[in-house]
Symmetry: C2
Subunit: 560 residues, 2 copies
């Protein structure tokens, strides 16, 4: 069979890898206080057995399977239960609850691994001819329900896995443009680029298990977007297989050639076709790369400082600040021996609080600002930032916390499984808004989540950070968690909190998502985000380009 690697079917990442708390002394007390879960007594469930899962028989006929095999080879077509389970969903909380609970209503019928763009074209054409549904699959890291087959879908569903298309085909080293196949996962493509002195500069939290095709399909953003831009800036060209032919958008840095087809593909989640190749703007690996940590006395002051940095002549690569709660969480997840926690709580904080006159430990906010370039550039930008930090009574605490953050950043998604194993929900929601709306939206979202928790009569948690600064606004990223009350109603309980958060976003000038996509999960708010007439235009695009609804239907706009 295929040698394309996948995440485990019931959770994030690799088998045998997970989040551990035993070496983090502050973590258990933190969790107890935050959501009332006692890790010392909680009995984690064992990983589910696949034998407990009932995957219904594939609807793909032998003849159809044979026709697909005629294109890609029999070894690259499978109706195997495990393969179909791996490809059914992404890794959102809703996805994992249903996977673990054997509550998946509809599986893809067949998984196909094309080995070339030509094969993708043949599969797409064959699928449309047979009135089958095609759901493109990259790394399977999506958390917006973008992969989910509709339970009511009666036609054959093909999961089209791009995993064999994983090569950096060419680097135009004078232009800084790399042609990269859509199925290349983050570490793989970055290594191929690094080997020749280049970087894509795109590092979303999902980096280790997501693909460049998936980044484009969902309008992803990476943590160094302040310097490298979002994937919509990085993806300067692309190739997309539609029924009957392939869209070929050549790499151009900018163009005045009508409504941007490139920007229609970005965020299209499979609805306009199958992305097979991306021309990415890549950069030479910078001489120096530093992440500097700062503390601010409180959230409001820290936000003002980050706003002023965004208006200044400084050009940081990363701008990020955690609210007081997330700062507490960061301290609580540090290891005893070498961690941030000991350094800070043992030595730094008492000294800082004395010196700065900070009285409320729970209010202080940890910020990371990244700098890249020549040593002189890094030094100058840091100097500009330091002056602003000082103006807002903040304090630099060196680069050690940033090194730790940089190492740990891709491990965060494992926490979702850790909590789920212990009967608790944990998930994330992010948005973007003008600077003026950052604090009101934050306040409203915290209040909305807390009201949802109160209505449910539970102790819940919500924390946030600001990241991805732009000239006119920023991204706010919320993480929320609570202990499920009724094992039979986990999805309803989750939805109650999630809905409150999303509604607070759109009610307060935020978009439904800054970089996770729409899928099924955020589609209820698309009309409030881009207005009914905006949805009408987008619907017209989908229905006119895919009249048979063969291309991942019902995603982004649920009704079409």
């Amino acid at each position: 069979m295929t040698d394309v690697k996948h995440m485990k079917w019931w959770g994030w990442g690799l088998e045998g890898v997970g989040f551990h708390w035993e070496d983090k002394p502050a973590f258990a007390p933190f969790v107890l206080k935050a959501v009332g879960l006692d890790l010392h007594t909680a009995q984690p469930v064992k990983p589910p057995e696949f034998s407990d899962i009932s995957v219904p028989k594939s609807k793909a006929t032998a003849a159809f399977q044979k026709s697909l095999a005629g294109v890609v080879g029999a070894e690259h077509v499978t109706t195997d239960d495990m393969a179909r389970a791996v490809h059914v969903y992404g890794k959102s909380l809703r996805d994992l609850v249903r996977m673990r609970g054997n509550a998946v209503k509809r599986y893809p019928d067949v998984v196909v691994y094309p080995g070339s763009e030509a094969e993708v074209q043949e599969i797409v054409d064959a699928a449309v001819a047979a009135d089958a549904v095609i759901i493109p699959f990259g790394g399977g890291s999506n958390i917006a329900g973008s992969l989910e087959p509709l339970p009511t879908e009666k036609r054959v569903i093909i999961s089209l896995d791009l995993g064999r298309l994983d090569q950096v085909l060419e680097i135009d080293e004078y232009s800084g443009v790399a042609r990269i196949q859509a199925g290349a996962q983050g570490p793989d493509l970055e290594k191929q680029l690094n080997d020749r002195g280049w970087t894509i500069g795109h590092f979303p939290d999902s980096f280790t298990h997501s693909t460049i095709g998936g980044w484009v399909a969902t309008r992803s953003s990476g943590m160094q977007s302040d310097k490298y831009g979002d994937i919509s800036d990085i993806a300067v060209g692309m190739r997309v297989v539609r029924p009957g032919g392939t869209i070929a958008l050549r790499p151009t840095p900018s163009a005045s050639n009508g409504p941007s087809v490139r920007e229609m593909i970005l965020g299209s989640e499979g609805r306009l076709g199958v992305i097979t190749e991306v021309s990415a703007n890549v950069r030479r690996i910078p001489e120096e790369r530093v992440i500097q940590a700062y503390f601010f006395p409180d959230w409001s002051t820290g936000l003002k400082a980050l706003h002023e940095i965004s208006e200044s002549d400084a050009a940081p690569s990363i701008t990020r600040i955690s609210d007081g709660r997330e700062t507490g969480f960061s301290l609580a997840t540090s290891k005893e021996s070498k961690g941030l926690s000991k350094f800070i709580t043992g030595t730094l904080l008492p000294w800082l609080m004395r010196r700065k006159g900070w009285t409320d430990l729970e209010k202080i906010c940890l910020s990371f600002i990244g700098f890249e370039g020549s040593p002189a550039t890094v030094k100058r930008n840091k100097k500009l930032v330091d002056a602003i930090v000082k103006k807002y009574n903040g304090m630099g605490v060196g680069t050690s916390p940033g090194v730790l953050y940089d190492q740990k950043k891709f491990d965060t998604p494992y926490l979702r499984d850790f909590l789920l194993d212990r009967g608790a929900a944990g998930d994330v929601s992010e948005t973007a808004m003008p600077w003026e709306r950052v604090e009101p939206l934050y306040d409203a979202t915290i209040a909305a989540a807390e009201k949802a928790y109160a209505d449910m009569g539970i102790k819940g948690w919500i924390m946030a950070h600001l990241s991805h600064s732009y000239s006119s606004g920023a991204c706010l990223y919320f993480t929320f968690a609570f202990v499920f009350q009724d094992p039979a109603k986990q999805l309803e309980e989750y939805d109650t909190v999630k809905r409150a958060i999303q509604q607070a976003f759109v009610d307060n000038g935020g978009t439904i998502s800054h970089h996770h996509g729409v899928g099924l999960e955020h589609s209820p708010w698309i009309e409030q985000d881009i207005s009914p007439e905006g949805v009408a235009v987008m619907s017209a695009l989908f229905t006119s380009t895919d009249p048979g609804r063969n291309l991942n239907p019902n995603k982004v706009i649920a009704s079409v």
Copy 2:
């Protein structure tokens, strides 16, 4: 009637303003050598008399006019011949030749000046109900045929002039977002912003006579785009009236909310509706703004230097270099008394050439690099640039040429009329491409134009500059001129050269336009630019959102 100001009906800009050569001693010899036109003997034609123009009767019935007047008031609806002539075309060479020659085949039937978005909505709805055609009109500066009514159009054509909607409605000073009505012209809106300490940073050559709605509708770019971005970056939100309702896209700095409707409106040239309002990312007026001039020994070397600047840590606001020919042209258009010409040809050049060992005066290239920010930022960026200039054997010649350039830059479009008055064609074509393609595309385009001239048996001129640097590529901007051979075949002669240039663009990895739009003029190459499947997607968007073809049909894609 309305007090909305328009350019003169037969040419660029204001009545009584034009290009003058008598005070530029090097200009006449330059033109004689370039295109064989002797300005000393050429007899310029007088400005055409409007009484020689025959504007056919309006197709708009009295009843329909009355219904429009019921919306906007009788004083804001007109079928006046002059008003219809002013609104029929933009200001491309093709437009002016036809205007002057009484060769316009189809005029709009009625010009309407709505005073609010609500009125725009009523007019659009009434127009669609009556199966009329709506062509939105901003400043009328377009040179891609985006305004042109089809000669075969049998329905009533409304020119919808947004000129009364010219206000900066609101500045969110914390976010740097200004709500600006679509009909606000460059100087007007910039003054309203400047008065409060802000700038939009968007200065296309058409600035003095173009509107923000027009910039969005054509995906415009201004000369400081290296710092401020193209209009696609600046326009973070917008409102667009469609039949039956208004698209409202709130200002968000970035969003993952499906295919970008914002980026569908950008470049839509009226085909998706009427832009009424733009939320623009504005910036505080920088403390210092400097344009530094440099000379390079030749084009190829200068391009390499600008490429290296784009890869460096320097962050200039403007990057521009003229080829040897355009450098010669710039010197030739300087005034004797205080100009660049005297300084350079009299004093600087002989010294430079001695010192640098430059032997070929016609090869040297003039470059402008702009810097903005605090004095320290300007100084540091200039230092980084200076080091690269030195590495490529270039030389800084101070800020005086940049001051002159900055003052003159909006006068260039008057040259088109100056040449036309003397029986000669002058126009421009620009493209964008990856850095690697810049020199090959330049060479191919020059060769293509020269072949076209040779085939026609004439002496023609073509020159270019690079401007608008991006990480992965740049814009090349060509200006071409020649003396018409057959007064009856001016359009055919122009088309021969223009076609050769556009074909060279798409054959060499360039897009059809970097910032002028598509209209009718560039639509023959759209398929070669974005591929047939890309055109299929864009066509589907147009036909499904405007099934009655009421919204400026046939532009961008001529067949739909």
